[in-house]
Structures are given as structure tokens and as C-alpha cells.
Symmetry: C2
Subunit: 278 residues, 2 copies
């Protein structure tokens, strides 16, 4: 659980039971890696948070306060996770938006998750989930608090040797993992699903796409069928905390930790986008 | 806001900021009308809550505790609303389900909402929302805490003379309102959308369907296009709090408070399914 939390700057770990975050999931979040007190990709996380606020019509919280509060939690922290939650606060009659919104800022420090330290180097086993993500173009891409779909997909397995599950949408397109984005490489092209109808536009996803040219890789972002994914030369999952996890078992298909995947990871580390230990 | 709340039986109105209800919307709720201390359709609400727990793999909370706690809030309450929230509690690594789930029960008493008292008798104006509900068969029907879709649809208007908005799904089928189910009557048949892909299977919706035969009305539950709805003789919205609100303006179409709608309302009141004043 959280090591320490700040709610609107106060050192408490309880929120009003009437907060719309609890009542409706009416808010957004960001999960940020800390390495040697440094918040990796801070600007990008705040930018996505602001984009999400715009989409949900939530007033954008003060970035100054967010960074001040986050940094107050990260001093002397070598490795950890900061999670920021911003909700529409209390009030409103039913679903209607309150007239005067006072957003709630919840910033929590967590220990680094206990993922196997072998995942980044040796690769991971990934299952294919039976859950299907629904289409919600208004909510797609942003990191909102309605995460029951991820909870349901993640509830499908308890085998601890399976590190992640791949989820398709209800038109049978590959979308992402339960907590990470997916890429695959075929020949000299990096492929990742387009996320206009569902999925989260991950910060590391954005970085991988932006850095592809530097590695002389073409990028193709479109609808991806399971058949196409299964024809991959290499594949990996990514997010801000795990960095890059190469896939070595994708459903029934065996893969190897790919050379191009490794080069992508090294480049992300060089730019301090992901942890040195990822 | 809430007049009084109980969290796991304790008279407080704050929840752990780490509760999965806030973190992921990982829970369910029920909204129950109180009339002269009596909780209308209690059994049906608890049954749907239990169905939802099954669907989300949340342990079913003790009904004894729920009724005891709810009744402790309703004594001397002539008219009000009880909202029950049940979450998966704290814990779990990310989206993964906790090994030992301790659910959170939040029971809050609210004053009766300030809807216009003319709505049940004179009927309401209803708009057509541009938001479209996504398809999530696993989550359809149950009253879970991921309610951003309703918040987004409800955010489309502030005109207080518009009492409700009708929302279609992303295949252009009529689904329901932002907070209520919809029925229309054509000739001698009562029509309401089938909700296998999205929407909430409202308690009053279930009651209306069950009572139709008593009023010699046929019932047809299927996919309904906007065109079909617009050809209605009568139409109404319903939920546990509002009871029955006849529709007198549906987008651009004028309707009258229908005789069959009124008979349905009177029958629901006779059986104490909705408030006398609805």
C-alpha cells in the first residue's frame, strides 16, 4: 500500500466518501517512476493529465502544486512510484457536473512493485485474455479512473509466471495489455495498435514511436488482428514503471528476446525515459 | 450531500484513499427510495447488488448487515434516498484481485432530490445526447461504479428545463437515459431496449415489464432505433427515485402524458414499488 499520501496538500490517506472519484470514477490518474528522486517523464505525464482534464471537462489542477507535492514525497527515494489522482471533487446533483468544481488532488508514494527482476532481461510470458475492451472514443487514450475493464481482464489468471495479458476489443482487434501497451516488430517495422476507440496512450508508447526513426525502424499504427500479431519477429509490452518487457511466450507462440527490442530499451534508458533497471 | 454515512458500520464519511472504489471504480452501488421509513424494493436492489458482485467476483456482503445499517439511517425519515456502495476494499497489486478481499460497505442517507414536482404529472422534456454508450457485455446490466459515460452524457446540457437525456449506443440503438430507463408504447405494446451490451437493468424497468400483462399490454424487448422510438404513442423514463416521468418533448417530437403510462404509474404505486408522490 501507499508509503505516504497527500490529499490537496494535506498528509492524510482518507478521502471524502462523497468524492466523485469514489462515487463515479470521475477523475484521472498518472503513474510515474521515481529514480534517484527524479520523476521520469514528468512533463509528458502532466501533459496527458491535462489532456484528460480537457476531455472530461475537469478544471486543470495547478502544475506548480502537483510538482511541489510530488517532490515533497520523492526526497531520498531511490526507486519508487508516484501515483497522482485528480478527481472532480464533491458535489453535483447525481451525474450532473457541480457548478463550482473543487478538484481533489491525491498524490501517493508507493514502493517499487515486486515484479520479477528477470522480466526486462529474460522476457515474459503473456496470455490472451477472453475479456474484450468496449469502444468509447470519448474516453479512449486518456487515463481515467474507470478501470473495471482492466480489473476484469486481469482477474482471468492467478498464475504468477504469467506477467501480463493481452486484451482485444469487441471487434477482435489487439488493443494492449491490462496495464501496458504492446508493440511488435516484423522485418524492419514497429507495429502498435491505434487507440482511437479504446486503450490508453501510454507515455512510453509515445516515446517508442518517437524514437523509432533513430533506430531506422518504420512505424505503423493501425488496427492489428491477432493473426498479424502472431506473425511477429519480436514483441514487447511497455509502460512507465516496467519499462520494456520482451515477450517470450505469446499465447502458444514462442518468441525470443529480440535484438531490436533490446536496442529500443537501451535508447529509452539513455534518454532517462525508463528506469536503468527496467 | 449526504445527511449521514456509515462505512462498514462506522459513522464516518471518509474512505481510505487506497480503496479500489476510488482507485479503479472497482465496486457497485444501489440507490433506494425511502418512504415513511420503508426501503422500497429492498429485496430487488439487494438481488441486483448480489448479481453484480458475482459478475465482478466481489464477495457478497452480508445482507443482514446491509439492512441493519440502512434501517439505522431511515428511522423517522419520511422521504429520502439510501445509496449503498460496495467496493472490493483495499489491496491487490495493481489491477490484480487481492488474495483476501475485505469489501467496503458505504451506506449514505441523502435528502430527496430537488426534481421538479411537476415531472411525474405534467411530464418532462428530454434531449437526445450525442454521447454514445460503448459495448461491454460483462459490465452491462449491473450497477457498477464506472460511471464516466453517464457523467459525460449528462454534461452535455445545463438547461434546467431539460430533465433527462436519451443516450444511444455506438451502433445507434436507443439504450436509456443518463440516470433512468426508457419505455415507449405503440398501439398496445410496451417497448424497451434490450441491455445485453450496455445499460443498467433498472429495478423499476423490471417491475414495469413484469406488470405489463396485468394492464393487458404486450412487451417487446429488443434493439430500438431512434426512428422507431420517434414513432411512439407514449413514452416515459423510470427509475427507483423518480418513479415514472412521462415524456412530453422527445428531441423535437411533442408527446402527451399518455393514459397507459399513467396506468402503469398507478399500478407501481399500488404495489409500493415507487413513491406515492412520484
Amino acid at each position: 500500500m501507499a508509503i505516504k499520501s497527500l490529499i490537496n496538500g494535506n498528509s492524510i490517506d482518507v478521502a471524502s466518501a462523497q468524492d466523485r472519484g469514489l462515487q463515479y470514477g470521475d477523475g484521472l490518474f498518472e503513474t510515474i517512476a521515481i529514480e534517484n528522486e527524479f520523476l521520469l517523464c514528468w512533463d509528458e505525464h502532466i501533459e496527458r493529465l491535462q489532456l484528460g482534464c480537457g476531455r472530461l471537462k475537469i478544471p486543470i489542477p495547478s502544475e506548480e502544486k502537483l510538482i511541489e507535492e510530488a517532490q515533497s514525497l520523492t526526497s531520498h527515494i531511490e526507486r519508487g512510484v508516484i501515483k497522482i489522482i485528480v478527481t472532480r471533487g464533491q458535489g453535483g446533483r447525481g451525474y450532473a457536473l457541480p457548478l463550482n468544481v473543487k478538484t481533489t488532488r491525491l498524490i501517493s508514494l508507493y514502493p517499487w512493485p515486486e515484479y520479477s527482476f528477470e522480466n526486462p532481461g529474460n522476457g515474459i510470458k503473456v496470455r490472451l485474455c477472453s475479456y474484450r475492451y468496449g469502444h468509447n472514443p470519448t474516453l479512449a487514450g486518456i487515463k481515467h479512473l474507470n478501470r473495471l475493464e482492466q480489473v476484469m481482464a486481469r482477474s482471468e489468471w492467478t498464475d504468477t509466471t504469467i506477467a501480463e495479458g493481452i486484451v482485444l476489443d469487441n471487434e477482435e482487434n489487439v488493443i494492449e495489455g491490462t496495464m501496458s501497451n504492446i508493440f511488435y516488430i516484423k522485418d524492419n517495422t514497429l507495429h502498435t495498435p491505434e487507440l482511437s476507440a479504446c486503450g490508453i496512450n501510454g507515455i512510453i508508447r509515445q516515446k517508442v514511436i518517437a524514437l523509432a526513426a533513430e533506430l531506422s525502424l518504420e512505424v505503423r499504427i493501425d488496427k492489428i488482428s491477432l493473426k498479424r500479431l502472431m506473425d511477429a519477429d519480436e514483441a514487447f509490452m511497455c509502460n512507465s514503471i516496467i519499462g520494456i518487457w520482451p515477450i517470450i511466450l505469446l499465447g502458444e507462440k514462442l518468441l525470443e528476446v529480440g535484438e531490436k527490442t533490446t536496442r529500443i530499451k537501451i535508447l529509452l534508458q539513455k534518454y532517462n525515459f525508463i528506469s536503468e533497471l527496467s
